[in-house]
């Protein structure tokens, strides 16, 4: 590929021609807006809509009673209402929707809807929510415990017995907003053929289709969700976005007219799910020679008002609770908990950023205790080729590149040399200098979290142009371009021959969601399979024409080659049509089998793993505490970089988001209400707060991935927080057990007093 970036959708985006959901206009379009209440937890008595109905321009107010189908949805547990009926479970619950001629009219009328409800005590602290006498958020569910996961490996008592030091710390992380720049939006059109056509700012068309069809009480085939440019997702345009589509579709169906529902930033931040806040108590036992003998941890995740994908997110945390280290004795308990806070779900990283923040500091604390170099300590314990993970999976199906990633980052960042310059809180400097690193491994795709298979079709035309359809979704990350490049490479043709069909749930089988950084590996896998099937068809059909057995036919340089002769690709396709064989193929890729035992927390959790390491250099002003990021370096094994500039974009964007997570981002909840619902108070990093970043792409094509590619979107996002915490420690001498690190000079947020049984160095 040329050095210049290539994307199929970029011209439309730089010219303003790309039409995102809110940019769409239709004749007769009505506008819908949500109505919230001021309750956090309450039993609904009545909803008075009279005044709102009489307001200017209002067509209709819809409440839960108007829903013809189901009012409970969810990917794992159906507990999320389209419109609240019995109870209000968090401050973002939508009580009603107002449909009016204009959006301004709808907003004005929404203020007139009155909710009469009986307040209930709100459970806002996950530990308190677990007490037997806590008020249940979902009565039908019994307790507030959403679910548990565990790992039981080896003998934890013996592990601690064999340890020379035992370290224990408590860690805490925060609610985080995805902060996609485009808010949720939907445009729904009831078509004359009876189909409800849905366009929306969402990243999971098939899940959206289930939400919409379920709400309408209609079969899946009655709903077509059409791909539309998406202004950012990061895992956050799933449940809430699907609910927004379901509400717009409900109004469109009942009124028989197209309906648009576009969210204000304040509504989006109030209602949409966040990254899970974690509380982690972590105990690590290490032997004097530097081997980690035991890890005991308890993870409590605040799931908020609805289940969403909490069991999947926390499953990943459980599987990866020891970071990229082999530990023989592990005891981990993970609890997902209902509260009346905003609900939490998928976000880039998916349960790993929280655990890496913990583990990658614990290893440094342990190394320091032992008087050992932290890099050496990591090396002694990290996974190697053929290692067994803490869930008993043998890493022998791919290249284990942990050491390689570590070394590449150390080199690229001049880590050893810079480390000597760290201030360690010295009082001689005004700007305290520190460099820190962190590393991780990450299971690729869904693993034992879910059904993992995707589909693609390749449809070559008689003139040699090609239509490609894949069941992965363009979230803005360049998924479509990557699919085109994978196909171009397989068929030996230029990418501009290939047009990706606008994705639609009506043309391709349900291929799951484009999350878990599975777009390239899973979608690419299906594309490769379809391409291979197509090549088989072409080779069989044209082998005589090309004067050689089909096995010898090659596809390269825009042509189909036989023995001593070649047909330009376009001519070859014309020949196919002449022979009355469609150059059309369907391909599917099924993730290799994985396994999991819920009781013991043992199994082959993921079919492959990726490895990455990041370093960050910074200064902390000794008086003001201001952190200045000087440099950030990342090395990740991506399998194969299908579209290099796009891979780099994932690196930089992921690191930036991770730095914001460490230093300043936090959804501030007060009594269950979010206080910062726009960008002046929820602050993401700006261009002048970030340094130039360095990306090192490591390529070890994965044998289990047909395209060789693995994944990158999330690995780059999951280790910046501990790298920054370690750098701040090396600058200031102060450990931070809580993010965001708003004041690096204050150790206020450090761990609780050590328990009595801690062994001290002898």
């Amino acid at each position: 590929m040329p050095d210049r970036a290539w994307r199929n959708d970029a011209v439309a985006k730089v010219t303003g021609a790309a039409r995102y959901t809110d940019d769409l206009k239709l004749p007769g379009l009505l506008h819908a807006v949500p109505v919230y209440s001021n309750f956090v937890h309450a039993r609904i008595r009545t909803i008075r809509t009279g005044a709102a109905e009489a307001a200017e321009g209002v067509i209709r107010i819809l409440t839960a009673r108007d829903i013809p189908g189901a009012n409970r949805h969810g990917q794992i547990r159906k507990d999320m209402p389209v419109l609240a009926d019995d109870k209000i479970r968090y401050h973002g619950d939508v009580i009603a929707i107002v449909v009016a001629r204009t959006r301004v009219q709808a907003v004005a009328a929404a203020a007139l809807v009155e909710v009469v409800a009986e307040p209930l005590p709100a459970v806002l602290d996950p530990e308190e929510a677990l007490r037997p006498d806590a008020v249940p958020v979902h009565e039908q569910h019994g307790s507030n415990l959403i679910h548990t996961h565990r790992v039981r490996r080896g003998d934890i008592e013996r592990g601690f017995g064999e340890s020379d030091f035992i370290l224990e710390h408590d860690f805490q992380t925060q609610h985080v907003e995805h902060a996609y720049l485009e808010t949720e939006a939907a445009v729904c059109l009831p078509r004359p053929d009876g189909v409800m056509e849905v366009r929306g700012s969402m990243q999971h068309p098939f899940s959206t289709r289930r939400f919409v069809a379920g709400t309408l009480g209609e079969p899946l085939a009655n709903v077509e969700v059409v791909g539309t440019p998406l202004g950012g997702g990061f895992g956050g345009k799933d449940d809430t976005a699907a609910l927004v589509c379901a509400r717009a579709a409900l109004a469109a169906r009942l009124l028989g007219r197209p309906v648009k529902m576009t969210y204000d930033r304040e509504w989006s931040m109030r209602e949409s799910y966040k990254r899970h806040p974690y509380r982690v108590r972590y105990r690590m036992g290490v032997r004097r020679d530097g081997i980690i003998r035991a890890v005991h941890c308890r993870i409590v995740a605040d799931g908020g008002a609805y289940c969403s994908v909490t069991p999947w997110v926390t499953w990943r945390s459980t599987v990866q609770c020891c970071g990229p280290y082999t530990v023989e004795n592990v005891h981990c308990d993970t609890l997902g908990v209902y509260t009346n806070n905003v609900f939490t779900g998928a976000m880039r990283g998916f349960g790993s950023p929280q655990m890496n923040f913990v583990v990658e500091q614990m290893v440094e604390i342990a190394a320091e205790k032992l008087g050992m170099d932290a890099v050496e300590f990591r090396r002694l314990n990290m996974v190697q080729q053929d290692s067994l993970t803490i869930t008993g999976q043998k890493l022998n199906q791919h290249r284990v590149a942990m050491g390689e990633a570590l070394d590449r980052v150390r080199e690229a960042s001049s880590f050893e040399e810079k480390r000597k310059r760290c201030s360690h809180g010295s009082d001689e400097e005004e700007e305290l200098y520190g460099i820190g690193l962190a590393m991780s491994y990450r299971g690729v795709s869904l693993g034992a979290e879910g059904a993992d298979f995707t589909a693609a079709t390749v449809n070559a035309q008689a003139d040699g142009s090609i239509l490609l359809d894949v069941g992965v979704h363009e979230n803005g990350q360049g998924a479509e371009s990557a699919m085109i490049l994978v196909l171009a490479r397989e068929l030996g043709v230029r990418p501009d021959r290939i047009r990706l069909q606008r994705s639609s749930t009506a043309t391709i089988p349900d291929s799951g969601t484009t999350v878990a950084s599975r777009g390239t590996i899973m979608g690419g896998g299906a594309v490769v399979q379809a391409a291979r099937e197509l090549k088989r068809k072409i080779a069989t059909t044209l082998s005589q024409r090309l004067g050689c057995p089909m096995e010898e036919i090659r596809f390269e340089g825009e042509a189909v080659h036989g023995r001593g002769q070649a047909l330009p690709f376009a001519e070859a396709m014309a020949e196919m049509y002449k022979a009355r064989v469609f150059p059309f193929a369907f391909g599917m890729f099924r993730a290799p089998e994985v396994s999991w035992d819920e009781e013991t927390g043992q199994g082959d959790a993921y079919f492959t793993w990726v490895y990455g390491c990041q370093a960050v250099e910074l200064t902390v002003n000794r008086r003001t505490g201001k952190v200045t990021l000087l440099g950030m370096t990342a090395a990740h094994d991506v399998g194969r970089a299908v579209n290099r500039p796009m891979v780099l974009g994932q690196f930089y964007g992921g690191m930036a988001m991770g730095a914001g997570y460490a230093l300043q981002e936090e959804v501030r909840m007060e009594e269950g209400k979010i206080r910062n619902t726009n960008f002046h108070t929820y602050r993401i990093l700006k261009a002048d707060q970030l340094p130039d970043m360095q990306a090192v792409i490591i390529e070890n094509p994965d044998p289990l991935s047909p395209s060789g590619a693995k994944s990158i979107g999330e690995p780059v996002n999951e280790i910046m927080a501990p790298a920054i915490a370690n750098a701040i420690y090396n600058a200031t001498g102060i450990r931070h057990f809580r993010i965001p690190i708003l004041n690096p000079l204050s150790s206020e947020s450090s761990a609780e007093d050590p328990p009595a049984d801690r062994k001290e160095p002898s």
Partner: protein
């Protein structure tokens, strides 16, 4: 009463004077390349140029731009319909991901390069500091602006 939008005069009615500029552009003129994101002047997605200065169209009303020259992303194309070198630089540098911040970024960068065609990376970063991007970490956007700068020096 008139405003000039993308080099064309547009008649404005008395009623429209109090309309937010962003709504006027998006709804009345169907120039939907100007994006709404925060609505309070913080994110820069709605940036347009008014008399060559980058402004936030969510914070202005039509009356504020009477007789002035408004440039939106749709007006960046060259007269022959080809991409402006700055747009091309965004493509080449891989500066576009979801693309939602892109129109605002391009216009802010355009205003910078018009007044200062040889900015340092720091100057580019500081000119872009009030345009948020969640996807790219800004690095390839800074590179795109650097790539395009020589064109403005000609």
């Amino acid at each position: 009463m008139k405003v000039h939008v993308n080099r064309k005069p547009v008649e404005v009615s008395g009623e429209a004077l109090g309309t937010r500029l962003i709504d006027f552009l998006r709804e009345e003129l169907d120039l939907t390349g100007t994006k709404y994101s925060c609505g309070i002047g913080v994110c820069g997605s709605c940036t347009v140029l008014v008399d060559r200065k980058a402004v936030r169209s969510c914070r202005l009303e039509v009356r504020d731009v009477l007789d002035k020259k408004v440039l939106t992303i749709e007006g960046m194309l060259r007269p022959d319909g080809s991409l402006h070198p700055l747009q091309q630089a965004f493509l080449d540098a891989g500066a576009v991901q979801c693309g939602y911040c892109t129109p605002g970024m391009i216009l802010t960068a355009h205003a910078l390069l018009l007044r200062h065609p040889a900015p340092t990376r720091e100057e580019i970063r500081s000119a872009l500091r009030n345009n948020l991007c969640r996807c790219t970490g800004y690095q390839q956007i800074v590179e795109a602006v650097e790539r395009a700068a020589p064109f403005y020096r000609k």
